[in-house]
């Protein structure tokens, strides 16, 4: 009925409305995929894309980044300005970089970078032109050029090409760098996120100087460069790792390569593949492409098969002696083996034929060799003429394998039954060389096992079947056939997929990590110290690890106490390739790991024993990789990849262990302080009472006090012209101190102390080391009426009693 409506007409009608969609047009309709879904978020995303670009550009050019971000209200719109001191962009490139989506230099690189797709900044341009109708204003000056280039441009959404409104040269005070100015419809509801992003960027890029201006700020927010911070180590681009490619990529690489052989291709195009690894991949590839050949046991003594006789019979016209010698040699060589596959028989025949040719000066042509091979192979399969005979012989070869592969509880009869049925499959197989893939073998075993279950009333489970397949596959031999060439593999999707599987199955060394630029634990520390006024900082950088062929490094840092806000959950800062992740906290692997750790073990409060812990602390996690797996295009959350999660956990735990020992120490110091305070009330009262009871002056208690607290007691006494500083170490470890005495008169005979005069005060400095339980005396001569003051470094205040 329907066919009468004329389907062909509809198709044509539809075809008229079908046309190419421009990429710009597509993103215009899918803003959310790039993080421009709301006015609040758009601003954050635009800042983020601009700053990421600037940082990448500076680092590539070995310039310490100096970045300026300004947001201001301009009539109904917000104006965003981002400036950097990067290398600048050439006149020709400016329109493409900012006015064309998916234009970039990094997409094809396996290297750690912030941006990758080349979408970010042009998407911001697109968003701004769509909401405000204003063009992006770009100023850029390359190093050494006297003037800067100035562009005003928009993106032609139909063609994804830049449309230039203004193009001129201008002057700019920066010697080099780039400035972009965008106007867009937006709001500052995400102020918090913006601040977080800028602040966290400063933490994670201690080598960068960042200045931030927005309408609610009275003065620019400045994040200075950490002292001694250097540019991150330069990253190297690496070739892909065999474990990390997809089939499509592999096919493309196969097309593009200059190599002829697969072995050459592997070694040329991939990292960590040498001759040996290539050989293992190839063997594995052959097994998948050609299958393996079943290897059978040479005829046993009790069997009647006679390889020598059969080979002799197969060879004609080669002279009696030569033939006999050849036949016996082949038989001996076969007998020497535990099991022989068809191609191995052929190899033996070839080797012995060559020997006989040399010894007897005769020729063994390929026909003869082939006949001899088949004759010998036939004997390996059994001595009889019939299939039944062969089956019996193969069964006896298979039985030990089946027996080995299965548990001891299986009945002998069942194993025998399975072996017989398997043997039948081989006897009946079309390929007389008994060459089969692992799948074919699994099929044999499955069918034999099914039949055994059905007829022998036995059970043969999946594990048992798998074990049998494994055991038999192990004795089968990889064939020596040449693998397909690169060009034929490129044309054959199945072969390529077999190659890919072989690559994934082969053990290959992890990729090199020169392509990664971790912040390093030292700089994580200085980043945290720079931005947070805390009491304690810890950081840990893990060794590189691999997920899906991409190397990655995880770093963690913790700041605790001080000015950090107490009374709520700790702040978790997430970073990927030095970019702060601001949105989708709950979807991030980092957050999941932080929640899963038992923080009570590390001295933080964690209601219920799981979840984000409470306390005045900041936990930061940085994942650096050539390919950070994100949960979405907008790159807000790290995906739950087990390898990465495990490294995140180890990194956090490493830093948390330091936190724990700090908190423990702090707690014991606190107890110590409390004890000291308590005793400082009790003992003087006791001394006062004793004085009144005994009618004496009040006794001196500092020394007893120091002894009680196991403190280091530093005491200055004077005797005539001599001042003595006595250091009594009551603690259980040795003390390395810096004792500085400041006196108002010039000291004499200072016994090797370092004396510095400053404005009429003399700084006398000793560095004594006093072992546990020992006392040291530092003596010098001075006018003992002069004022003096003693300061001691090298021991915690709680463990020090100074008396002077």
């Amino acid at each position: 009925m329907q066919s009468t409506l004329g389907e062909s007409g509809i198709a044509e009608e539809l075809a008229e409305s079908q046309r190419q969609i421009s990429i710009a047009e597509f993103f215009e309709k899918n803003k959310h995929m790039l993080g421009f879904d709301s006015g609040a978020r758009a601003l954050v995303t635009a800042v983020k894309e601009g700053v990421d670009n600037s940082l990448d550009a500076c680092e590539e050019a070995d310039i310490l980044p100096d970045i300026y971000v300004e947001i201001s209200e301009k009539r109904d719109y917000y104006k965003l300005v981002i400036e950097d001191n990067g290398p600048g962009i050439t006149k020709e490139q400016i329109p493409k970089v900012f006015g064309k989506l998916l234009y970039g230099s990094r997409f094809h690189k396996r290297e750690q970078n912030r941006g990758q797709q080349g979408i970010g900044i042009s998407a911001a341009v697109l968003y701004s032109q769509l909401t405000s109708g204003k063009p992006a204003k770009i100023t850029s000056r390359t190093k050494g050029s006297s003037e800067a280039e100035y562009f005003e441009l928009i993106i032609d959404t139909d063609t994804n090409e830049p449309e230039i409104d203004v193009e001129e040269t201008t002057t700019w005070e920066r010697p080099h760098g780039t400035r972009i100015e965008l106007e867009m419809e937006a709001n500052m509801r995400a102020r918090q996120s913006l601040h977080e992003y800028i602040e966290e960027t400063a933490v994670v890029n201690p080598h960068a100087r960042v200045e931030f201006v927005e309408p609610s700020l009275d003065a620019p927010l400045k994040f200075e460069r950490a002292e001694n911070a250097e540019l991150p180590a330069e990253t190297e681009e690496i070739r892909p790792h065999p474990h990390g490619v997809e089939l499509g990529t592999l096919l493309k690489m196969l097309e593009a390569t200059d190599s002829y052989s697969i072995s050459g291709f592997l070694q040329e195009e991939f990292t960590r593949v040498g001759q040996k690894t290539a050989d293992s991949v190839l063997d594995s590839f052959r097994d998948r492409h050609f299958g393996r050949e079943m290897a059978w046991r040479p005829p046993q003594v009790h069997e009647e098969a006679d390889v020598a006789a059969a080979v002799r019979a197969a060879v004609s016209n080669k002279g009696k002696e030569a033939t006999k010698s050849f036949a016996v040699a082949v038989e001996d060589a076969i007998d020497d083996r535990d099991r022989v596959a068809h191609h191995e028989v052929r190899a033996i025949v070839d080797a012995e034929a060559d020997t006989v040719e040399a010894d007897f000066d005769t020729t063994f042509g390929s026909t003869v060799r082939e006949k001899a091979t088949e004759a010998a192979w036939d004997q390996l399969l059994g001595d009889g003429e019939t299939d039944a005979d062969r089956k019996e012989s193969l069964t006896s070869d298979l039985y030990p394998l089946v027996d080995e592969a299965t548990s001891t509880r299986k009945d002998d009869a069942v194993l025998q039954g399975l072996s017989e049925r398997l043997a039948a499959k081989f006897v009946n197989s079309e390929d007389t060389r008994h060459r089969l893939t692992r799948d074919d073998l699994a099929d044999y075993v499955a069918r034999a096992a099914d039949a055994t279950e059905e007829y022998d009333d036995a059970t043969f489970g999946d594990t048992a079947r798998e074990n049998v397949v494994e055991t038999i596959w192990d004795v089968m031999g990889t064939v020596p056939d040449d693998p397909p060439t690169v060009s034929s593999t490129a044309d054959d999707r199945d072969a390529a997929s077999e190659l890919l599987e072989a690559m994934r199955e082969t053990d290959i060394m992890s990729p090199p990590t020169g392509c990664l630029a971790p912040i390093t634990d030292e700089l994580v520390l200085s980043g945290l110290q720079k931005e947070f006024d805390a009491d304690f900082y810890a950081a840990a950088t893990r060794d590189a690890s691999v997920h899906g062929g991409d190397p990655f490094i995880v770093e963690a840092g913790i700041a605790y106490g001080g000015e950090l806000e107490d009374g709520g959950t700790v702040d978790v800062m997430r970073f990927a390739n030095r970019v702060p992740l601001v949105y989708q906290r709950g979807a991030c692997a980092t957050t999941d790991v932080v929640k899963s750790i038992n923080w009570r073990n590390y001295g933080l409060d964690q209601p219920g024993g799981s979840g984000i812990p409470n306390g005045p602390a900041v936990v930061m996690v940085h994942v650096a990789s050539t390919n950070v797996p994100f949960t979405s295009e907008s790159k807000d959350a790290v995906a739950n990849v087990p390898e990465i999660e495990s490294e995140i956990e180890l990194a956090i735990r490493e830093a948390a262990r330091d936190l724990k020992s700090y908190l423990n120490k702090r707690r014991s110091m606190q107890q110590r302080r409390e004890k000291q305070n308590k005793l400082a009330t009790i003992l003087p009262e006791m001394a006062e009472k004793l004085a009144s009871v005994t009618g004496n002056d009040e006794p001196e208690i500092d020394e007893a006090m120091a002894r009680i607290m196991n403190n280091v007691l530093v005491e200055r006494t004077v005797n005539g012209e001599t001042a003595t500083v006595t250091i009594e170490n009551n603690s259980d470890r040795s003390a390395d101190l810096e004792v500085t005495e400041i006196v108002g008169a010039e000291p004499q005979d200072v016994n090797g102390a370092n004396v510095v005069e400053m404005d009429g005060e003399w700084f006398i400095k000793w560095s004594p080391s006093v072992s546990s339980g020992e006392t040291a005396e530092l003596e010098y001569r001075v006018d003992t009426t002069a004022p003096s003051d003693i300061s001691v470094e090298g021991v915690e205040d709680e463990k020090l009693t100074v008396q002077s």
Binding site: K675, K678, L679, T681, I682, L683, E685, M686, A687, K689, L690, A691, S692, V693, T694, N696, P699, E700, I701, E703, A704, R707, I708
Partner: protein
Amino acid sequence: MSTDNDINYGEGDARERLLALAEQFYKQFEEGDVPQLQVPTRTKSNIEYDEDSDVWVYGDRHSTRSAKTVSGAQKLLKATYTIDFLAQQLDEDRSSTLRELYYLSESWDLDEAQFNDQDESNQLVEDLEIVSGATREDFHMRPEESGAKVMGPLLLREQTNRGDREIHCQDDVGQGGYQIPNNPDTIDFLDHDAEFVLCVETGGMRDRLVENGFDEEYNTIVVHLGGQPARATRRLIKRFHDELELPVTVFTDGDPWSYRIYGSVAYGSIKSAHLSEYLATPEARFIGVQPEDIVEYDLPTDPLSDSDINALESELEDPRFQTDYWEEQIELQLDIGKKSEQQALASHGLDFVTETYLPERLEAMGIL
């Protein structure tokens, strides 16, 4: 005894001894040492038999109250305050009770110096006794409970606050008998007709003996112990034995707690082993009720409770009870699993105890 001070009870100036202790703390401070006080550990495992004096005294184990710890420092602070108080009290020749000391501490300006409970202040006074070698009577510290009562043919003179009094403990007293003062060393014995001393655990039995005229008939000084005997009672018993050369016997219930009452009269208590020489009467002998008597006289009984059994077993391990006699009796009692009160003797009639039981037992012990 292994404290540094020689024990010389009742002699020397208690005030001087206390001040010497304060001096010691003072010196420790001055020399930069941590003030500390060593006292013998007051537990069952740290008492040993002193061959010379036949009493149980503390062994070599010491605990140290040291200012190294907050609690130790607090103890020493309290000790200092208490010394101050006692020295003042002695100076003014006044006295106070242990309980008063506890309440008095509330008035000390420093919170840390105040006692948390009376056990603490009692223990501190014991510490001071041990270390200073004086008794709390020397410090003019009285227990709340005074000594018990005495009835018998004895004439004595007591120095009271209101002058000396001569008292005959049968003729000059009522049915209740003569009340032992807190410090029995204020008593002088003038004359007596007594043959022996009979210490009785319960008030009911004492009244029975007095009512039946046992003290008159047998010339006995009947001392009412009233549970665990107070120090004054024990001191007086010791003086009866030492000064009047009277044999001392103890008559209690037939259960493990009563054996301890006998033990404290004869051997001294663990808490006051430092005063054993002053308080204990090692020659005191146990009349009963013996476990043997429960069987012999077919007395009404109660079964031993679990705590009784524990107490008996703990007595078997107590060095003070490790004699053939006690081991035999305690094992017998554990064996029969029964105990009897003194009053159980009344099951044979009200006069049975004075006419049959005591004469038979005293004769067997060679006292009558």
